[in-house]
């Protein structure tokens, strides 16, 4: 009920200032109340959308919660960061799948500008039809510029509701205050007051998952990964759980963090690309952990790992069975490696001479040669040792 919200006076922490000057800012939450969804207005996507708004009644009567923030955000980027932080909490707690296209997360933004240094907020407008995070940021950027333009040309902003026109990239008057509707609100008799005793609250608190902020901090301290890595890995609960499962299966945390962010997410986002119909059986955490352990122990090189990973992704097979199937020879036979090393050195007496004259950096060149020759299948450490030994002969 509007007059008696479910919750008041909350807040969310967001990161502001970018990588250059990272800082945390507290965005106040005024209230959280429940409403019944009326319908979803569709302002675009139809041939006659320029003339008409379509109304999708499929969500009619569904309960929704409205979360009203304090006027604490000072830039479109802050609004963006706030919405991301809010979305993460809603997803972590499984309150909503936050699908903006389907309308399970929607956002209206109030915008005002004021002369630098003044205390009082300017007249605000409400911007609707913000169907994605990108639209939100663009609409706000446009609306701020528009209001500044109005004020600088001597005009004044009207309190009104504006619609973001996605294709034109601008906001347009939807209804002005003069036409403001009298909704004739009254308490809905079918919604009873909710009584929450301390025991119930305690139960809910116990069931709450670890929230994104806490998880990020724990990732940094417990796994020694960077806060950037922790951010990426905790973006969704699913991803964070996956990372931890890989580590639980024995993978080194830093390697796991790195691998998931590069190899795993690359294939995942390619798989999710629109129009991509290919099916895959992405490997389980256990398989990935095994692969990372093999790399870590030098059993295979990182290059081999990268090479076989797409196949693991396609088939869901473990690393060992892919290696077997692909016929990749593990180059850990010392005599074969020595033969290869000798051949490389024999081809290039000039550089051998340089090394022996004291130019140590030539060693790296030879290691590169060696790895190329063996298509990355050799353990670089063993290769270095062999080369160093042969050069010292």
């Amino acid at each position: 009920m509007y007059e008696l919200p479910l919750a008041t006076a909350g807040f969310l922490q967001i990161e502001v200032g970018g990588a250059a000057q990272p800082a945390r800012k507290r965005i106040g939450i005024t209230r959280l109340h429940m409403e019944e969804d009326a319908a979803k207005a569709l302002h675009e996507g139809f041939v006659d959308s320029a003339k008409f708004t379509y109304v999708d009644f499929n969500r009619c009567g569904m309960p929704l919660i409205e979360i009203v923030s304090e006027p604490d955000m000072r830039a479109p980027s802050e609004a963006h960061a706030y919405l991301i932080a809010l979305k993460q909490v809603l997803e972590y707690t499984e309150v909503s799948d936050c699908n903006m296209e389907e309308g399970s997360l929607r956002c209206d933004a109030n915008v005002s500008v004021r002369i630098r240094g003044t205390e009082k907020f300017g007249t605000r407008t409400e911007v609707k039809n913000l169907n994605s995070f990108r639209h939100l940021q663009r609409a706000l950027e446009y609306e701020i510029e528009r209001q500044i333009g109005v004020l600088e040309s001597g005009g004044h902003t009207e309190q009104e509701t504006r619609l973001y026109n996605v294709s034109a990239g601008r906001t347009e008057t939807m209804r002005s205050k003069e036409l403001a509707h009298d909704y004739r609100y009254f308490p809905e008799p079918d919604l009873l007051p909710v009584t929450c005793d301390e025991q119930r609250l305690e139960e809910v608190r116990e069931q709450l998952p670890e929230l994104p902020d806490t998880k990020r901090a724990r990732f940094v301290t417990a796994y020694g990964i960077t806060s950037y890595d922790a951010d990426v890995l905790s973006a969704t609960r699913e991803r964070a759980d996956f990372f931890e499962e890989v580590v639980r299966h024995g993978a080194a945390p830093k390697l796991a963090a790195n691998w998931i962010q590069t190899q795993y997410l690359r294939l995942e986002s390619a798989g999710n690309a629109p129009g991509n119909e290919t099916t895959h059986k992405s490997p389980a955490a256990r398989e990935i952990a095994e692969l990372l352990l093999m790399i870590d122990s030098g059993e295979i090189t990182a290059a081999v790992g990268k090479k076989i990973f797409p196949r693991m992704w396609q088939t869901g097979q473990g690393a060992r069975s892919v290696i077997l199937e692909e016929g990749i020879v593990k180059m850990d036979d010392a005599s074969t490696m020595e033969q290869t090393a000798r051949a490389i050195l024999a081809r290039d007496p000039n550089n051998v001479a340089k090394y022996r004259a004291g130019n140590e950096s030539v060693l790296k060149f030879f290691i590169g040669q060696f790895m190329r020759e063996t298509q990355g299948q050799a353990n670089p450490q063993t290769a270095t040792e062999i080369l160093r030994r042969l050069l010292a002969e």
Binding site: F57, D182, R184, Y185, F186, E188, P189, D190, L191, L192
Partner: protein, 485 residues
């Protein structure tokens, strides 16, 4: 047993007995009631729609249970009628309105499905005032209903069709809905038993909302015992209605037969003042005297806010109605009058689909909820409602139940009050108080006027004391006119 030899009046227990003795089958009994409807409904106009297919399917199910010697559910084979504001899957549900003239709901109201699972045979849907707004059934888009107990007179309303169906022996029991008196007042007018349970006792899921904080579903029957059986079959928590409570459902039929032991009968003076017909007063006083003879003690008391009940009721009920009826916009349900623009389509659909009384109440409610008037009307009415509830709470400190007349006058003639809405509203003066307070109330017949018009006695009890209210009504009914055993 052939149709000619079937008894004319049936009770739930006589049906059960006959079914078990196999003197009649559920199918035969159902066919008999459809014959009666065919014969008498053109005159009484109690039914708007009959559903023989559904009824015979239910009857056959009962007959199959009997054939297999299985135990029978409590309402097995009992022919019942549903007020046409209750959703019935696949069976037209008009709410007495042109706007829903051809509306066929896709689901059953919980009360409907619970009665059917208790073995009841649903014969059809009964006439009522449009969206349950009225006290005479004259606000139906499908014509008035004749009072079977008094031809030429209204059956009361808004559950007039349900009351007439039971009084006219076209159904053994019926469901009505009560927002300000719409079960009890027609019960009184037609000379039958009519119970409004506590708010929250019966799920409202599938009841077309008029005023959601007041609407209740309850039984109309020929005896208190039968009303108790019907209530027991449908009461109880329903996850589909958040206002339905999980308070346990007692065996109302058994409990209503308990003897009265020194109960205190509260007699509120405000219900016996100006406007009360002398004949009604006399019959109610006689009933009180009889209850005293049965061992009850009379306690005269005051309920000072009674006079404000009608005014508060018509603000709260119309406010909620204006919101609830907004959904009939020509887009989602029923009638759509074509037009060149959306706004014009709304106007034409609602202009042609709604009757005069519904429009009057939507306008009243819209006004009362509008910015600038809300505090003066709606908010104030809610405060009055709280005071009326307090009157009852205080009265129940001094008395176990309250005894009042159900209506200030017996039934009036069809057409007599249609031009005077205020006079019509006063028909509910003794019933709206209990509606506002959320408590249970029952009306039982307590004699007839010299013009041979039925008079009703009302018993109110505290929240969730249906058993007590039924007990008092049953004791009175047994003493006043023992049913043939």
């Amino acid at each position: 047993m052939s149709a000619a030899t079937l008894p004319s009046s049936w009770t739930i227990s006589s049906i059960r007995e006959s079914l078990l003795l196999k003197t009649v089958s559920a199918r035969e009994l159902t066919a008999e009631f459809f014959r009666r409807i065919e014969r008498d409904n053109p005159r009484i106009n109690a039914f708007l729609t009959v559903c023989p297919e559904r009824a015979f399917a239910a009857a056959d199910h009962v007959d199959a249970l009997i054939a297999r010697g299985e135990s029978l559910p409590p309402l097995a084979g009992v022919p019942v009628a549903m007020k046409d504001v209750l959703s019935t899957a696949g069976v037209r549900t008009t709410c007495g309105s042109k706007i829903l003239e051809n509306y066929i709901p896709p689901y059953d109201a919980t009360a409907v499905s619970r009665l059917e699972s208790a073995g009841a045979v649903i014969l059809g849907k009964t006439n009522c005032d449009e969206f349950a707004m009225g006290s005479s059934n004259e606000n139906s888009a499908f014509g008035p209903v004749q009072n079977p107990a008094a031809p030429g007179y209204v059956p009361g309303g808004s559950s007039g069709g349900s009351a007439a169906a039971v009084a006219g022996q076209l159904a053994v029991a019926a469901l009505g809905t009560d927002t300000g008196g719409s079960i009890r007042q027609p019960g009184a007018c037609c000379g039958i038993t009519a119970l409004m349970p506590t708010y929250g006792r019966v799920s409202r899921y599938g009841l077309t909302a008029f005023a959601s904080s007041l609407d209740r579903i309850g039984p109309l029957a020929n005896s208190v015992e039968d009303a108790a059986s019907v209530l027991a079959a449908m009461a109880g928590r329903d996850p589909l209605d958040a206002t339905s409570t999980s308070a346990p459902v007692p065996d109302y039929r058994a409990q209503c037969q308990e003897p009265l032991h020194g109960l205190r009968l509260g007699i509120p003076r405000q219900y016996f003042g100006e406007g009360l017909d002398p004949e009604v007063r006399q019959k109610v006083e006689e009933a009180i005297a009889m209850l005293e003879k049965l061992g009850c003690r009379r306690v005269d008391l005051d309920m000072p806010h009674t006079d404000y009940a009608i005014a508060a009721y018509y603000i709260i009920a119309t406010g909620e109605a204006s919101s609830n009826l907004a959904r009939y916009d020509g887009v989602r349900y029923g009638l759509r009058e074509p037009a060149n623009s959306l706004r014009e389509m709304y106007k034409r659909t609602r202009g042609r689909g709604f009757g005069t009384e519904v429009k009057r109440r939507v306008m009243l409610g819209t006004y009362a909820l509008s910015a600038g008037y809300y505090d003066a009307y709606y908010l104030r009415a809610q405060k009055v409602r709280a005071l009326i509830a307090r009157d009852f709470a205080e009265a129940f400190q001094r008395a176990d139940v309250l005894i009042t007349p159900t209506t200030p006058t017996p039934a009036f003639r069809i057409g007599e009050r249609t031009s005077d809405p205020l006079k019509m509203y006063l028909a509910d003066i003794y019933t709206v108080t209990g509606s506002l307070a959320g408590i249970p109330g029952i009306s039982v017949p307590c004699g007839k006027s010299t013009a041979n018009l039925p008079i009703g006695l009302q018993v109110f009890g505290p929240h969730f004391t249906e058993s007590l209210v039924l007990q008092v009504a049953h004791a009175y009914q047994e003493a006043a006119s023992p049913l043939p055993s």
